[in-house]
């Protein structure tokens, strides 16, 4: 019995090392984050507005197979998140130049802090949903902050990017998809 106790640290280490080995040899690149939601309709979650003068959003704000609408970008942000600040100019530019509506999903944030943040940096969002408890975050399958989803006219998520947007990614991944969606619609 006593022996087993002394073997415990070794056992735990083997588990940890095994994990590292598995990850190293067979793991896929963890930076690529698959989303179970890709190709699926956006979640049903109804999000209350962050601002008094701007609506929140919910399922009805996206298109559906029966009633198509314009494609939408959903951008998850929070005032406490440094990279969100870094990507903000690109989100703003996208909203302006690509004439695509961007919905903001303000998550796990304090309302006043978020309002200050938007006043400080500018507000490019067409609608902003407020999710202080992070419930919608779970429904959307948010992995990290910031995160951006592209939703097509039928209300299906077609693309997702975890982490801040940057020009190269926007050029290579996002714009072609947005333009393709618009071409369809």
């Amino acid at each position: 019995m006593k022996r087993i106790l002394f073997l415990l640290p070794l056992g735990l280490f083997i588990i940890v090392a095994g994990y590292f080995a598995w990850q190293l040899l067979y793991g896929r690149d963890p930076r690529i984050i698959p989303s179970a939601l890709i190709g699926n309709p956006v979640p049903e979650t109804e999000l209350p507005p962050l601002k008094d003068d701007k609506p929140g959003f919910g399922r009805a704000d996206f298109g559906s197979p029966d009633a198509e609408k314009a494609p939408v970008l959903v951008n998850v942000f929070a005032s406490w998140c440094g990279p969100c600040r870094a990507e903000h100019p690109f989100v703003t530019a996208l909203a302006k130049q690509e004439s695509i509506e961007v919905y903001g999903l303000n998550a796990k944030d304090n309302r006043q802090a978020a309002l200050d943040w938007l006043r400080d940096l500018g507000d490019p969002y067409a609608k902003i949903g407020f999710d202080p408890q992070g419930k919608a975050v779970l429904d959307w399958g948010v992995y990290g902050y910031p995160e951006t989803y592209l939703v097509n006219g039928r209300g299906e998520i077609v693309f997702k990017h975890v982490g801040p947007l940057y020009p190269d990614l926007i050029e290579r991944e996002l714009l072609p998809r947005i333009r393709a969606l618009k071409g369809e619609g």
Binding site: F6, L7, P9, A17, F20, L24
Partner: protein, 666 residues
């Protein structure tokens, strides 16, 4: 040419390390004193070689030798000299060279200052130390050679990440490495003791100074990193619970536990197997910290300097060193004899509680850092664990630890009496309650957590002061005046402990003030306008363009006065820098410190019509974080300088004692 000399010196160091790993160990096993003796010159030679290599790389940086790939990738000819030098360890290859150099430094220190160690233990310790060196020198030479040439040589380098071009961060890695690698000595001692099958009070006495040294530097390194995050990232936070911070925090927690459990081994000859395990785990977590987390393997194996070979190599090294030592532990530790028994309420009991709580805290941080990854392997789910997790798990473990910290030092060994110990602490307790009441009135009970934080801090200070006073005045027969005189004759270890414990209290108070009582304001303002926050009036005097050696900056000057006063005031200078080579921006917060608070200002974007976004904070007690950390380091070093640690082992008489240098090794 100089780069080739450096490369050659590293190879030579590998040869010496191989030699040092094998011969002394074999000598100790076969009882060959001459073989065992060889460990010393080998350890010193290894250090000499690595110093040559390190100087060679530093030379390449200082002279901006762009034929060396490593210099091209991490330096720039316009960079100030300080950052050319700190660029040496601001990258993977160079930091590895620093790591093995510090490892050799510690080996040589044991060789030189460990004169009074039993020859067998010394030979084995140095041999284990050399085994670690062999592994990491091989890794450096085979996969991460800092001396690799680049032909043709480019005209200019790509510059060091501007965030790292900062005095705080220039010295952060060497400090941290001395701490991490210092734990290697303790690890080597533990493995050597397992091989010998003997752990006794003398062993603990030899190990404790090395733990203290490593702990002091680790504390300083972590504090420097935290200070850097505080003023450079511009968000006013000092701890973000990110994996890199956690990686340095886990070994610190275990080193703290080890520091305390070694006392029990020394004084009471018990808790041996636990202490050995702590020694192994503290260094193992340092290894995991330096090599897995810092290189990004934790978040992404593929990010490991984009070279999977390195990942496999490192994993093998870790498996051999950590797995090997833990296997040795499982095999040999059960044979170590247990020492004296003790009651749960006793000094030992308190130290065991300290150890359990610290280990639990380290486990909590470990889980928080790794759990998301494990979960992903098992279920494929991705989750993120952030500050809320750590606040919910780490803080509740710390509170009982801090309360017990007050009582522990007052308990007698073997068998104590809790009510009696508590009676002694009445004054401290009353003080704590008084501060609690004052705080409660001041903030109207709004922030319960702040209250608890300050109460715990006051409790700690009171208890530490009481304990020190009781040492000076052990019975009522000693008059207060005499006791005051005796205070200054107390051992440095006593003062060291008191200083470190008071340091913890000050850090707790600082962290409480900084996180819970901060006033914050983000607003737009024009030069000449005044904004008030937390009782202070911040005036943005002007915004000018400034030039540094390798960056351009927008510099905002603020004058801060207490609200309602005119004239005087404190001047804060905040900058936003854009670095020439990379175009990357950094913020330099303008910070005005006084004993009771920091004023903190950050200048942001211009709105194009003369207004600027500014971020202001008033952070009560923020300087206490650094004062408390410094006090902890000071406590560690004071304790390290105590004569008893140097003289512990029986001194040989006559000629032998003439050679025993007074050094902290014994």
């Amino acid at each position: 040419m100089i780069a080739e000399i450096g490369h050659f010196a590293m190879t030579l160091a590998l040869g010496l390390a191989l030699f040092q790993a094998i011969l002394p160990m074999a000598g100790a096993a076969r009882g060959e004193p001459r073989w065992m003796k060889l460990a010393e010159p080998a350890a010193i030679g290894q250090l000499a070689c690595l110093l040559v290599a390190f100087v060679a790389l530093t030379n390449a940086y200082v002279t901006s030798d762009f034929s060396v790939r490593n210099v091209v990738e991490n330096s720039h000819s316009l960079k100030p000299l300080l950052y050319k030098v700190s660029g040496v360890w601001g990258n993977h290859e160079g930091s590895l060279l620093l790591w093995v150099t510090v490892l050799a430094l510690f080996g040589a220190l044991v060789a030189v200052f460990g004169r009074k160690l039993p020859p067998g233990l010394k030979a084995r310790t140095l041999s284990v130390q050399a085994m670690i060196a062999v592994g990491f020198l091989l890794f450096t030479l085979l996969t991460s050679n800092p001396f690799e040439r680049m032909i043709p040589a480019p005209l200019e380098g790509r510059d060091l990440n501007p965030l790292l071009q900062d005095p705080g961060l220039a010295f952060h890695p060497p400090m941290l490495y001395i701490g991490y690698v210092g734990l290697s000595v303790v690890f080597s001692f533990a493995v050597a003791a397992l091989i010998e099958g003997k752990v006794d009070a003398a062993w603990a006495r030899w190990v404790r100074p090395w733990t203290l040294l490593a702990w002091s530097f680790l504390t300083a390194g972590i504090a420097l990193g935290s200070w850097w995050a505080y003023y450079e990232l511009g968000w006013g936070g000092f701890w973000y619970w990110d994996p890199v911070e956690n990686a340095s925090f886990m070994p610190w927690l275990l080193a703290t536990a080890l520091l305390h459990s070694a006392i029990v081994v020394e004084k009471r000859d018990t808790l041996k197997t636990w202490t050995i395990l702590l020694a192994i785990m503290a260094f193992s977590l340092s290894l995991i910290g330096t090599f897995l987390v810092r290189s990004g393997v934790l978040t992404s194996v593929h990010a490991f300097a984009s070279d999977p070979d390195r990942g496999i190599f490192i994993l093998l090294l870790l498996a051999i060193s950590i797995g090997g030592s833990l296997a040795l532990y499982a095999w040999r530790a059960p044979t170590l004899t247990a020492g004296g028994l003790f009651r749960p309420i006793s000094r030992e009991g308190a130290l065991v509680l300290n150890n359990l709580l610290l280990a639990a805290a380290a486990g909590t941080v470990f889980l928080g850092t790794l759990y998301p990854l494990f979960l992903e392997v098992v279920t494929g789910d991705k989750i993120s664990v952030g500050p809320p997790y750590f606040n919910a798990t780490f803080v509740p473990i710390m509170i009982p630890l801090l309360i017990a910290l007050g009582v522990g030092p007052l308990m007698p060994w073997k068998r104590g009496d809790l009510p009696q110990a508590l009676r002694i602490l009445t004054a401290a307790f009353v003080g704590a309650v008084a501060v609690t009441a004052v705080t409660a009135v001041a903030i109207l009970g709004e922030l319960g957590y702040a209250l608890i934080g300050f109460a715990v801090a006051a409790w700690l200070v009171g208890a530490a002061a009481t304990e020190l006073w009781r040492r000076a005045k052990p019975t009522s027969r000693v008059s207060a005046g005499d006791a005051f005189g005796r205070l200054f004759k107390l051992s440095r270890a006593s003062w060291g402990m008191t200083a470190a414990h008071v340091g913890v209290a000050i850090v707790v108070a600082g962290a409480t003030g900084t996180t819970l009582l901060t006033a914050e304001l983000i607003t737009k303002t024009r030069p000449g306008e005044t904004v008030t926050l937390g009782g202070y009036a911040f005036t943005l005097e002007d915004v000018t363009e400034a030039r540094g050696p390798n960056y351009g900056a927008q510099r905002g000057t603020f004058t801060v006065r207490e609200e309602g006063t005119v004239g005087g005031g404190q001047v804060l200078t905040a900058e936003r820098r854009v670095y020439v080579a990379s175009g990357q921006e950094t913020t330099e917060a303008g910070i005005g410190s006084s004993m009771m608070r920091d004023l903190y200002a950050v200048i942001g974007d211009s709105d194009g019509s003369g207004g600027y976004t500014i971020r202001l904070y008033v952070k009560p007690l923020a300087p206490w974080l650094w004062i408390g950390s410094a006090l902890m380091v000071l406590g560690g070093l004071l304790s390290l300088s105590d004569r008893r640690l140097r003289i512990g082992a029986p001194v040989r008489s006559g000629t032998a004692s003439a050679t025993s240098a007074p050094a902290p090794a014994e």
